[in-house]
Amino acid sequence: MKGNEAFAEAAIRAGADGYFGYPITPQSEVMEYLMAEKPHERTGMIVLQAESEVAAINMVYGGAATGKRVMTSSSSPGISLKQEGISYLCGAELPCLIMNAVRGGPGLGTIQPSQSDYFQSTKGGGHGDYRLLVLAPASVQEMADFARLGFDLAFKYRNPVLVLSDGAIGQMMEKVYLDPQRPRFTDEEIKQNTPWATTGKTPDRERNIITSLALESAKMEQHNIALQAKYRQMEEEEVRYEKIGCDDAEYAFVAYGTSSRICQKAIQLAREQGIKVGLMRPITLFPFPKKIIAQMTSRVKGILVVEMSAGQMVEDVRLAVEGRVKVEHFGRFGGIIPSPVEVVEALKKQIIGG
């Protein structure tokens, strides 16, 4: 199964209520798969092709505000258009699932895979002090797993969850285990699980209002403080990562998604040459596994951050390392995936020899 299809199928099985999207390469398979599957007949899930990404993300807002499990997907230029909506979703504390199959930019860029939306995903992108919970899959299996996990985390925190994929993971075919169908929530369950949702004001409660507005600064500050507390809780409870070959490592790669797969191959090549290198793969990009990376500096002599970008995550690695060991960046961009040989050469030149 393709990564994009696995994501779509897993979303149906996770009990999604609605998908709203607009076509863009390299992720149009998500909506195509959903339309072909007729989830309306399978589970009652609604799938709608919107007039734009702006409309799609606002449909997500309208659906999420009624307590439903709703989602959208797009690729970089479309995700840029969704930023206003994402900011509103965060401000109004609405849960939803968003997938970005990143392609090279800036501008219309290329349809080839890239990792140049790291800043946009983890530092904001839209306006205001907000954070998305960002999951970075590195396999088709994780595309499926993160659809369900993403919904669950979104509801746990009343916050959008972004699955930061790329063209390579979306298009590649791998075997995948899919969880069995989980039923969609009934209207009664929604009223219990999400008592804040706009499900219609009944006599037993006050009216529910979904808004990101607070005209009084003091109120707005309190709202921001509450949001920040939520993000700190994510940092305490949701950090996810994978370490490969780090036990005896003298050097480390830090890479996520497609780059982490290239690094796994590079580790083999390097070890054949007697270089003890391991891989630290952040799975959550926010919250970022900064404590783990900081701990690694007691063992490793240098870190090479490999990204398909001009160097974005490297800034967070440097902040975590605080100058204790050398941190360098190696990247290809514009849609080019680095080869494992290139990565090993960069390690030798920039970290070991440099």
Partner: protein
């Protein structure tokens, strides 16, 4: 504060001629005195009360003077980004097909920044109600030119009057959406006199009843005043509206399908 003079002899159930709907909260309206928004709120809430659908209604108000509509309407409400209410309503309704979903939008919101969402929700025939308050100006941001500002009309961004050669023509979006197969009922109303209010309320009732038919979108334009933005007294603003807005935006039904 002056003490209210209460004539207890007169306040008897049999003398009751008018009662404020329970669906308006006790909060004092934040609108300028004489503004049409308050009356428009009232008739919508009265219709929801009369139909007994408070627990089945979801209201959506975006940015504009009515951004705080949820402070006044005692129903579940969503606040939308500028122009996006019809997109929110689309999903809210499709995911909750038994609910009544309406949007309440200004002219800048509906006919400028939100044109795409408006046209496409209308064209898809979403089973929602759109209430469109056309006051020919951007009220909330201080009286700038709107897509509906009349030719020659002054605003803070057309201080010498709207020059259509330079600034383009006013957009009659209501006539435009009436062309679309997805709209079931399209009408233009006003709320400046008791007679107009009664007619407008009938239209709102019809629109909400239409939701049950599941046959398309109901679109109600309410031509309204913005005395602050127009820089007129409420009285003068209403007269000006009758003399200038109504000839350009004639009142009445534009499309009535069953």
């Amino acid at each position: 504060m002056a003490e209210a003079i209460v004539n207890t002899e007169l306040i008897q159930p049999e003398n009751l001629v008018y009662k404020r709907t329970e669906l308006l909260t006790p909060n004092a309206l934040s609108y300028c005195p004489g503004c049409g928004h308050g009356t428009a709120h009232r008739i919508i809430m009265e219709v929801i009360e009369e139909m007994g659908i408070q627990s089945e209604t979801i209201g959506i108000a975006p940015v504009g003077c009515s951004v705080l509509a949820y402070d006044f309407m005692n129903i579940d409400m969503q606040q939308a980004a500028h122009g996006r209410a019809p997109a929110l309503a689309t999903a809210a309704k499709r995911l909750n097909p038994k609910k009544y979903v309406f949007t309440y939008q200004g002219d800048g919101d509906l006919a400028a920044i939100g044109t795409a969402e408006t046209i496409h929700a209308c064209n898809r025939g979403e089973n929602i109600v759109i209430i469109f308050i056309n006051n020919g100006i951007y009220g909330m941001t201080g009286g700038q030119m709107a897509p509906t500002t009349l030719p020659g009309m002054k605003s803070s961004t057309s201080p010498y009057g709207r020059d259509v050669a330079m600034m383009g023509n006013p957009l009659k979006i209501t006539e435009l959406v009436a062309q679309l197969p997805g709209t079931l009922y399209v009408t233009r109303q006003a709320v400046h006199t008791p007679v107009a209010v009664r007619k407008a309320k009938k239209a709102v009732r019809k629109a909400f009843e239409n939701t049950k038919l599941n046959k398309g979108l109901s679109f109600i334009e309410i031509v309204s005043n913005c005395n602050s933005g127009w820089k007129m007294t409420p009285r003068k603003a209403n007269d000006w509206m009758v003399e200038n807005m109504f000839p350009f935006y004639p009142l009445g039904d534009i499309k009535v399908n069953e």
